[in-house]
Symmetry: C3
Subunit: 380 residues, 3 copies
């Protein structure tokens, strides 16, 4: 359940937490090495292909075999620690994984060591030298990993404000149409805070605030407006409409969805405009009229975060020759660049008042929840 | 009062102090966060303009309002720590400062919070959220800041070897004609040491040593020559003249001051050539025939220092259409580049003898005083 | 004496040791500041020339005077720590070394302080301010330094697997024909491990494995093959020949030595192909049909190592106008680049399994000895 507006000013996290190395190392250990981290949508790996990626300084490899099954391993040979897959992505040539250094071979699906290239050795127990598996879970086509091998995936605790609307969508059958990456020079928490409030919307996002009238009021939810219900009743025009502006169908440059739509959630979207689901510390997902956008956040250092955005569409939309993907991609990039810029401005001011904290205002209740989450995880 | 020549070899600071991170952090805390740091001459900010600058990793902003009054703040919004002024310098558009992130507004002169953009909040005491002021003092047009808010400006303790000659000059009415910046790859103390002796002059500064005959003798003060007084009496020619070489009027490429001069100190300059005033750890100032040059030193890291030189002139000089500023600027840059180069050479040698110290020779008594100052501050 | 094949799997060093900063600092202190480090062959410095180089963050200078005598000093003036020689190499213009900063002068051969440029100073004992000597030793034309001034050179303990064959060669009269440098992004121990086994040869070095048939079997020594002796007796063809492939004379692109040879060791080379001598942590040397190649390893950081390869030839070979040096140089560079690439791949995989160690296989007995050496030195 979403929280309500704050009723008193709340201390923000100490400014030092946005650059201090010890805090950052603690966050890696206690948060990023202990939570379900979003990797990518299943459609971004082809059959008989692999894909490597770096999370928390660890390089992992996702492999999809010919049966469409996924395996996830640390990308390291058990012999002397060599990296096995040297490219970002590529084709798997056989059902056997072979290390490029000394040609140790492993079974593709299980990671079991099949053979070494050495002379025979007594007391050498192959079973001890399998590739090391990474704990993963696929939920509705979304691949998550957890570097804590003992953690079990739990829907309710993984998503902060779970919204059942998503269950109506067959997300596993959507297809990634575009991927966009950007490194932002701010602490990962700064970007999350930016995502969690709309006080900045009118000035930072003029185009978006035009599309979503509620954002002109610096609000993210109609429940945050003290007299919304009354005003809506007595005013029929768009001013108190909670969704997109009149005539708009999706988050796109011209507001049009070009005849495409995510059908099962149209009635929900009509009144709400968009639906968000997020999972700290690495993913937020937005459902829009004709597409879904997923943004992944991976910290590169205490003062740099890597954004990866995926645009997902129903297969029928991508196969429609008239549909122009740019309409939604360009709009998403516009908004994300605006957020990236102001997040960097925020970061640059944070060093000056090192012993201080900021203050959270009524509309910043999601940030307050986020801070409670961070503090709690660091204490564990 | 200036000290006299050393009568025995003195141990220099340990070589490790010129790169050790712990020592550097201590210097930032005990010296740079506790002393009056030179910022710039008041004439370098226009009315209704601001100027930001970074000192010790803190970004501060100087604002001159329409009445020519100066305010100095940390460049950070009290809300969630955003940087407020994003440019190095610019125009202030209204008497209100507005943060670019969430449009919190502050009074230009006092820094008082005027308005937030949030819903009303009980217990929110605006007075607690003013911009944070920086302690500053303007002395004869020179702006100094102290990151220790409790320190009061004191003329005698701020300048190491105060010279009353400067009081004859209406420095507040001088104008900055040129600014030059250079980052030098050496510890800030290495540059100060270089500034504090002339043993290096004949080989490093051939042009300067030609202009100032005393420097050919590797001396900075005639009192340092054992038999100067006697020699001067019995020799009338320039060899024992303490000022500039015959015919020269100022520190310039051709020695000429092009008919301009700082009148009130001409008699002083005639016998002395130039007059120096310095304040550790950030400024030295030279008074020459027709101009004043101020050099500011700000450490960027343990092994990098940023130099900023300002050339100041009487207004009448700058408005004289015949006067060519290059004559003094080029000479100053020549000398400073020579010092920068040899300071980098000095730094590169410092790592080899890590457990050792150098040795100070008779002429290096100002360096000895400087080392006493550094040691004392670090012990405080 | 070389060890024999391992009879049980051995734990490799913890993966963390290949990037941890504390381990690296310990290695610098306990290993690199305490062992005989290879610098260069004596022929690479001309009479009346100097050469500077950086080892473990220390810059040292080797000077060869007009009598061909070598002196080695830390490249730092005793006055205030200035670097004295600013170029990588150059001519010595007089038998006196003069510091560029304040012109202190030192005797070229002894480093004794001759003169300062300061006024006379009581109690200033020149003898205390000599240039600081670096402990060095020249063995058969190879210059070694030890930053521990008390260590004495000992042939047996310096070379791990000393091979008396080298004593037949008048190495001091060889000449460096070519020098090649490359920085490799791996821990210095990774490169040593790579050098210490041939399990990787067939796949990483196809050309070399063609030249040296034993390497196709992933072995470095015929004694490592369980039934070699028997097989050799019963098979006369090259398959069980321990040296180069039939017709090949040296490690070169076409296998030819162009009529040149290191005569005194031809009979040894015929059966063994090449002869190796190495000294941890900085040098391995290979004797081939017509040349010697020496590779120096200097760590730049925990995850970067600088390789410097010298190709040495008998004077008569270099003065032979028909001999094309490229034939051996290109082959050496090919092999070293292959090793550099795979070493970087190895390094990239090492971060993933931070609490683990790799495992050593039978053929990796030299690596096991190397690990024993590293562990022992770190404990000292």
């Amino acid at each position: 359940m979403k929280s309500n507006s704050l009723t008193k000013p709340e201390k923000s996290l100490p400014f030092k937490w946005y650059y201090d190395q010890k805090i950052f190392q603690k966050e890696i250990t206690k948060i990023f090495n202990d939570e379900w981290l979003y990797v990518c949508h299943i459609s971004s790996i082809d059959k008989n292909h692999y894909r490597t990626l770096s999370v928390n300084n660890k390089n992992i490899v996702l492999i999809k075999n010919k049966l469409n099954d996924i395996s996830v391993f640390y990308n390291t040979c058990s012999h002397r620690g060599s990296q096995i897959f040297d490219q970002k992505e590529g084709k798997v040539k056989s059902p056997i994984i072979i290390c490029p250094y000394h040609q140790w071979s492993y079974e593709l699906s299980s990671g079991k060591l099949l053979n070494t290239t050495s002379l025979k050795l007594k007391n050498f127990d192959k079973k001890k030298y399998s590739l090391q598996k990474v704990n993963f879970y696929i939920w509705k086509g979304l691949v998550f990993v957890n570097l804590n091998s003992k953690k079990k995936f739990n829907l309710q605790s993984t998503f902060q404000y779970y919204d059942k609307t998503i269950e109506k969508i067959d997300l596993e059958n959507f297809v990634v149409g575009h991927v966009w990456k950007k490194n932002v020079l701010c602490n990962w928490k700064i970007y999350w805070e930016n995502y969690s409030e709309c006080l900045h919307c009118p000035n930072i996002h003029p185009e978006l605030s035009d599309l979503v009238p509620l954002y002109q009021r610096r609000l993210v939810d109609i429940k945050d407006h003290p007299e919304w219900v009354i005003l809506k009743k007595t005013n029929s025009h768009s001013k108190y409409h909670g969704g997109l502006k009149n005539g708009a169908e999706t988050w796109s440059v011209d507001g049009s969805s070009q005849g495409q739509s995510i059908e099962d959630v149209q009635s929900e979207l009509e009144s709400r405009g968009q639906i968000y689901i997020s999972t700290w510390p690495t993913m937020f997902l937005g459902i829009y009229g004709d597409h879904i956008r997923i943004v992944r956040l991976i910290p590169i250092s205490s003062e740099e975060v890597e954004l990866t955005a995926e645009w997902l569409f129903p297969k029928s939309t991508l196969s429609n020759s008239i549909y122009k993907m740019e309409n939604v991609i360009d709009f998403g990039i516009l908004v994300m660049n605006q957020d990236a810029n102001i997040s960097e401005v925020n970061q640059r001011g944070i060093y000056n008042l090192e012993k201080n904290s900021g203050v959270l205002m009524p509309e910043e209740y999601i940030i307050r929840d986020f801070h409670i989450y961070v503090r709690k995880k660091l204490k564990e």
